[in-house]
Symmetry: C5
Subunit: 280 residues, 5 copies
């Protein structure tokens, strides 16, 4: 028994595990934020960097909300915007309307921050707004963005090139989906090379959908009761259904113990419009 | 490793997967809607086209509803009809009475639209009606209709002919059933030909029930936590029980990880009658 | 591939499946109701016929019920009896006290009707009574009674004779049990002969309990999230425990994916006494 | 196929099943109650007899309880004692404080009766007390005590002698645990001799804990959604943890499909003290 | 069959089981408390001793809390501190803010005591405070600290030396995680040597994280519905994610039937700050 397996090697294994799920947020152009950048959240940057925490929380508006007068409810949106503005330096907040699509929620909040506690501070304030106070949290998942490791870059150059060379070119996305994915112990016990093969196998059939489905990946093992959070945006739901069928039809699916449960579907809207739709 | 598997081939695989569940809404006579048709929903057409979204939402009327006066409750039906009328151009809405048959719901709303956001807009308004405000959503499933692919048409001509040649000829259906179905990873990893055999195997014993059970199929993989939504209408519940026993007795059942949970049973009624029955 | 497997053969398979669970409500003396009889429910007849729908609904009395005055609550029983009387021609209603035995319910309603919609109409009215309005439905299962097929009759004459020749001879039953049972896909894919053997295997050890446990069977595949509803009445709970141990100790138990969950235990009482006990 | 397996043989099988779980309440000194004794419950006797029904119900005190004045709450304990006293002839009631140890309950009621309906009658009255009215039942399990059969006595004399010869000799028990146990179909299909070996295997490592952990066993197959209810009392929680580790480390554990879920831990207190602690 | 396996040997087996999970709170420097020490809880000592009970309870603040005036809510923190102070001699209480990170809770209470009843007494008083009264307990897990046995010390000296020689040296921990872990029956049936190998296998890859993740282990088999409670503190969530990936990638993970569900993530704060954050 030897005690000296170096940390760097340990990390490369875990980072590969990352790559092997869905090839989202691909390698190279997602550098870690500098400490300077972390002082101020910029949406365009934080959505592309590694070492960023993504929080996906769904909420169900309670009947008590509608006992407030229409006048009071009409102020709800601006109140939420104020809270978002107050925390804008440390958290980037987006909202989605899920009412009618989901039994357990009416809206989804998606937050990005360099520090989870910053998102928590925002959520503490949000819960003190009129709609926050009258909403119940029904899901809360956290994950972190990570880059691909050198092994992957070296061994799958064609695949990575294909991932990079095909930009999204379809209509502006109208819907977003959040799908948690969990692997079984057998998958986690695969060797690096076996995981790389799995990654290639599942990435290949997804390439045709780069043009009409946007994707992003977060790592959650130990941080939450899922291994990965996958996030998608699209205007073409049939294509999205087809993409998911492809992901179901590869051998890696045999090792998924969770794929959704829930799959959260929301309409992409501004925070203001989400709150207004729920305040009718 | 080759990166050039064409999209068309990918699609044919996924579309076959569709066919292989239950041979509902069979091939040929379900063309995709033209953009002209999509401007205005026509029930007779939208129920037969592909590329149509079906939403199945169940609701439980809350005790608070009955704290409204009988007079107020008596207006609930017309209020719902107004909302349906307002959205009639973009959503076709049907209702079913589930009270007494289901623990988790009192009624089922079934919606068809060319765009899920249109159904969502209707549901936002519905939730602001007196019965909507006092009802809790307890299930929400979404799926899309798709056609069969050329492989299926070419390889199973006898089966397709049988499916097309036997019209429903029993009494007017009195009950509807919604049954979500989910396949395991092993099934999704079958080859096209293996899936085609499964489809033939499970379709054959269902042919005798074409005369007394109507059927419709939706695809949900990735859109929701089910792979398929199957919908049935019948006046003969013993025949329906027998049909389900046939579907349980084929090898494909070994690969179903979800068959129901819930099976939702409702009485087919007009929206007005459903709301009135619940307003007593 | 041949398309001409006749319906009659299909049915015989499914009906055998029925027999193979628990030999309850045995063959021959359960003729289907005539259309004349179906105009008017007669308890003694409907409990013995095939083609009859059994509904088992449990309810939990809500705290709000006890905010009604004792005087109002004392009228609850007669109000329920009125509703039962109003529907007596189309539904036969029985009640059981489950409070203290079950976490999820206080009482069980058992209904028999030739048409589920008739039971639903009763339940709509029941939910408008003072106790119905203040009770929450916590379980709802529906099944249909069916006869044995000719194969079973021909191949197991000894077993059927034994089932018919041993009448219940113990004390008047004091307790009732409702136990849903679901089979796995492997069981459903057994051949007719294999299912017949399973039926013989599980029926044999239950024969000694014919004298002290009454039984009845309903078929639910496709109608609800169970394959069978089994119902028992007894005054001897140790015998009932022993009977269930026998049913657990045969090979068929290996193919049960649901046996209870819940097992509902209730005390057999008149509807009036059940409502009065809960109105204290 | 022979129909004449005698009842006595059937019973011996089922009674052995009993013995094979955990060797609690061992053979010989637990005679069945005479009809004379059943007229009047005596705690010392009923806890040692066979044919006795044990009910384990947990309750969660609702927020509404604390809207009653402190003065009203101070009367709760005596009100419960009155109800217990009223039913003392037919039910023996004990209470345990679970608040802080369990998420789903604040207290556990343990009842012993010769007839479940007698316990139910008590519970109906209990639910009409101020604390009963404001508490929600969150678990309800019922089981019956049974003796060992002659086979066990004959074949494992050493083990039985060891069980009988080692009395509890540690400090007065401070905590009680209720652990439901369920076996899979494979276990139930074992032969008598195989079950006897399992019993010996799991009993042996538990012998050292006879001195510091008291035990009692109930049979529930068919009566409830568990096969056995095991009950323990101890003052030494490390010993209790060790005992459970022993029970996890025998081959029989491979056939347990339920071991707890929940494990209910309560502090042993008088009924009065339990109600008072919850009435603060 | 021999009845004389000594207790000491039994214990060594069970204590090894302890060691084989995660090498937390390692051997030697965690002596059992003397009866003198148990008279008065000292945080620094009780967190390092064996035979100590750890309780992890999560709570969800109910909407009713916010119906109290801001003035009343501002007193909540001092009221909780008073109760903690009252029980300081027998319970050491810590708090964590989980709002926004967890759907089922807003805060976590972590308690250490030599006697669970002492923690229960504190919790009874806590539940009578304004925030306790308006909070719902949503999780409650209890475990006990234990030392390693001689076998482990003798057979893995290198591993133990490595565990002892590497102190935590990163930034002050900002987040805490509570992860319940449960093993299957196969794992529990491993021999001592096999378990020791598993321990070595899973401990080795965790060594690099001793510098940036603190850890503590509790034993719960039989005390609660988990086998182990693992507790972590860190300022580096990427390292924590990597550590968990390592723990997923060893063969022992194949025998974990529970790893989280829930994983509870909280921000480390004083009790006062937690209550204040929730009282906004």
């Amino acid at each position: 028994m030897t005690l000296n397996r170096p940390i760097s090697n340990l990390r490369s294994v875990s980072t590969l595990a990352v790559a092997a799920v869905v090839a989202l947020g691909v390698a190279g152009f997602t550098p870690q934020a500098t400490s300077e950048e972390m002082k101020m959240v910029e949406p365009a940057k934080i959505l592309k960097q590694t070492g960023v925490y993504g929080l996906y929380n769904t909420y169900k508006v309670q009947p008590s909300y509608y006992m407030n007068s229409m006048a009071d409810r009409s102020k709800a949106a601006s109140q939420v915007l104020e809270v978002i503005s107050k925390h804008a330096k440390s958290v980037y907040v987006q909202a989605y309307l899920t009412r009618g699509f989901e039994k357990k929620s009416d809206f989804l909040l998606r937050m990005h921050a360099y520090e989870p506690a910053a998102a928590q501070a925002f959520l503490i304030d949000f819960s003190a707004t009129i709609i926050g106070r009258n909403s119940k949290i029904t899901l809360s998942l956290i994950g972190v963005t990570k880059g691909l490791n050198h092994t992957t870059k070296a061994k799958s150059p064609d695949l990575l090139a294909a991932l990079k060379s095909t930009p999204y070119s379809a209509a502006v996305p109208k819907y977003a989906f959040m799908i948690p994915i969990k692997k079984n112990a057998k998958w986690w016990n695969l060797s690096e090379d076996e995981k790389l093969k799995k990654m290639e196998e599942h990435t290949l059939p997804t390439l045709p959908f780069l043009v009409n489905v946007k994707r992003k990946l977060y790592h959650s093992t130990g941080l939450d009761d899922t291994d990965f959070i996958t996030y998608f945006e699209t205007a073409d739901l049939v294509a999205f259904n087809d993409l998911n069928i492809e992901l179901h039809s590869v051998s890696e699916m045999l090792d998924n113990t969770r794929y959704g449960r829930p799959i959260v579907m929301g309409t992409i809207m501004s925070v203001e419009d989400v709150v207004k739709a729920l305040s009718k």
